[in-house]
Symmetry: C2
């Protein structure tokens, strides 16, 4: 890291020994996983820098923001509306949840038979080695799945938590409930930040969020070129950093990367040979630093060119309609945009099947890896529907269930290679 942040971490109350250990695990893994990839676009340097400063510069910025009276909102889910937080001079930060380093701490309280993402986040909090938790003034939870819904109660014992009700069916009545949930959230957030939500501020914040989504849309659709101009691993990293970097700086950096990729595409330059097999993934999110699946696939010489995932297409494919006359109207548009995310928490969720098929056709992938985190009931059960639809469309599918451990890397490699050979 560029500076010595030890005093800052100590003042945040981190368990310094464990935190050092965590950073050294990350620092050791990153060069072999990321830096040694051949022919990386120069624009990735910014994102490498962000990772190198993962618990440094960004935390310092958040503390400076707080010193000036701003608030930090920790989040775990796409349903938490960034626009509203930004408009109230808040900063939304996706919290740490992507490593088994924190799981033993979590299992002292939570059941073992629980999604690794949930155990990971709770372990980070209870083990006190995530500075993002410690700078957050509040965690905004949601009732998307049983595991998170109930784990937020436990988290609430050591951190202020505000939970949004996400309905599980989509119709006019559940939309009404969701719309009132936004009002309840605004009331709470106004009270916390001391800022009143106005049309001007929300319009501006909506533009910021939409511009970020547009940049990510462009980046991710460039991956579909042949040869693909950026590795799936690099694109995944950008999609992950979207959750916690400063939105304006992030969007600028993505747009710079996009320009370079366009040049590569025009010159037919890529990071994989033009005849390399292209795959896409569908399923559960990849919280940073969960790079396992992408690393396994790309180490075998296949490229991942799309993710139907919360860290992927579900995050950026829909914009908020900025065309509204009133604050209430703009909030209606925001509510609609978020309600239209196709998470497996909804029943039925046929739109997600359409999304997978659509992304498969657009991306030029030769097959779909449907990836589910262990014990993630909504996506695990929905795998049956994914299989039904993809079989009907004659799209090759490999279902994979995995966690954050490295014990299954060889097995995954064998299964993925066998899948590709069958294509």
């Amino acid at each position: 890291m560029a500076e010595d942040y030890r005093q800052m971490w100590a003042e945040l109350g981190l368990d310094m020994e464990k935190h050092d250990e965590l950073l050294s695990v990350l620092t050791e893994a990153y060069p072999s996983l990321y830096l040694r990839q051949a022919n990386r676009p120069k624009g990735m340097e910014y994102f490498d820098f962000v990772v190198s400063e993962i618990h440094g510069l960004r935390i310092k910025e958040l503390l400076e923001h707080k010193e000036k009276g701003g608030k930090v909102f920790g989040t775990f889910c796409l349903y938490v509306p960034d626009e509203i937080i930004t408009a109230l001079n808040g900063i939304a930060i996706g919290l740490c949840a992507g490593t088994d380093f924190s799981i033993p701490d979590a299992e002292t309280v939570l059941p073992r038979n629980l999604c690794p993402l949930i155990k990971s986040f709770y372990g980070f909090k209870v083990g006190k080695f995530c500075p993002y938790f410690e700078v957050s003034d509040v965690v905004i939870g949601e009732t998307t799945c049983d595991g998170k819904t109930k784990a937020y109660e436990v988290l609430g014992e050591s951190q202020p938590v505000f939970v949004l009700e996400i309905p599980h069916r989509k119709n006019d009545e559940t939309f009404k409930l969701w719309r009132t949930e936004l009002d309840r959230f605004i009331e709470e957030a106004e009270c916390l930040t001391g800022v009143e939500l106005t049309m001007g501020k929300l319009r501006e914040a909506t533009k910021v969020a939409n511009n970020k989504r547009k940049a990510l849309q462009e980046l991710n659709s460039l991956r579909w070129s042949n040869p693909t101009p950026i590795s799936g691993k690099d694109a995944l990293l950008v999609n992950q950093i979207a959750f916690y970097d400063d939105p304006l700086r992030f969007t600028k950096s993505v747009n710079e990367l996009v320009e370079q990729l366009k040049e590569r595409v025009a010159a037919e330059q890529g990071v994989f040979p033009a005849d390399a097999v292209k795959l896409m993934t569908s399923g559960t999110p990849y919280a940073i630093p969960n790079w396992k699946l992408h690393h396994v696939v790309e180490s075998s010489g296949y490229s991942i060119v799309a993710e139907e995932s919360c860290v992927g297409s579900r995050y950026f494919s829909e914009l908020v309609d900025e065309d509204a006359e009133t604050l209430a109207g703009l909030l209606d548009n925001i509510a609609k945009r978020y309600f239209n995310i196709h998470c497996a928490c909804f029943t039925p969720n046929e739109e997600r099947m359409d999304d997978i098929v659509d992304l498969y056709r657009k991306s030029g992938a030769k097959g779909v890896i449907n990836y589910t985190l262990s014990f993630c009931t909504p996506y695990l059960v929905e795998s049956h529907k994914v299989k039904g639809r993809l079989d009907a469309e004659e799209i090759p599918l490999l279902n994979i269930e995995s966690d954050y451990g490295m014990g299954d890397v060889e097995q995954l490699t064998t299964r993925i290679q066998a899948f590709v050979e069958s294509l």
Copy 2:
């Protein structure tokens, strides 16, 4: 069974070979588990008869009901309002979900890492050896947990399913949604049955359901006497049969049993010695024929005198307020009663902790076994809250996680005996 029902089962399309196998498993287990208990109340004969006719007489009655134009509603959850079904000349039936016999069939489609109750019910349907599924005109599902919510979609491929949205937080807005869900359900049920819901019919049906609840309240509170006049296993069986027997006949039989138990209490007669250790359970439901925990506990000489469970206190402790002037008013009362069930699907769910403590104090139990079906995320995570509250109240607690297999019977016995010795 009293009659030969083979033709009826064949006409229902059951897999006759598997169904024979299932019945023989049940028929073999029942005498040693139930009939050989010492000093059983004579009133249990009726319930033994109901079990002996489990796929016989009741199915015949349901078919006769259908021949006369009535409809059968299959259900899996306390949130489905019996009153409304009864008022529309429907019969509500709790479907089969309590045995690992059906799980291998389910695991061809559903993930292994899923609650046994859910796998069991789906296996019964897909394996075609549950006549209750086959006589049901519709299954009424609900969004209480991820596993059921998503499994209903899969079930919907082979059976009409109607899903009620159960919110996960309790406030005015979510109550409004729940109230509109009842209206949506009524519309659907009126359409299916061809019967219009009127105040007269709903008032009558509410009385029927309340009378059943009152009978169960009385039965279950007699268990707290010393010595306890009925085994926990027998009381559990009555609580299980409540879900599928004819409500009027059932209530009459429970009331007859209650009279006998009152005589026993007056005479200080019991099924366990007066100094036998009394325990209670809290947690997930016991779908028939899941008698494992009760059998293990009572075979060790301890009695179970209460269940804080959907098959137990959550089913009968609250009545519907019958005092209403209008149909809408009575429906409001029904909505309130169901919304007030303290299921772990709600966040927060502190009222459940109050219920456990209250039942512990009333029942005279010396300790609480908090029982959770494997992979039941809401109750597994909530176990932490149960422990926190019971520790604070200095109430002894044993957390047990189990499924429908018999492989852990010895381990459970050892753990429960060690728990009792520690009291």
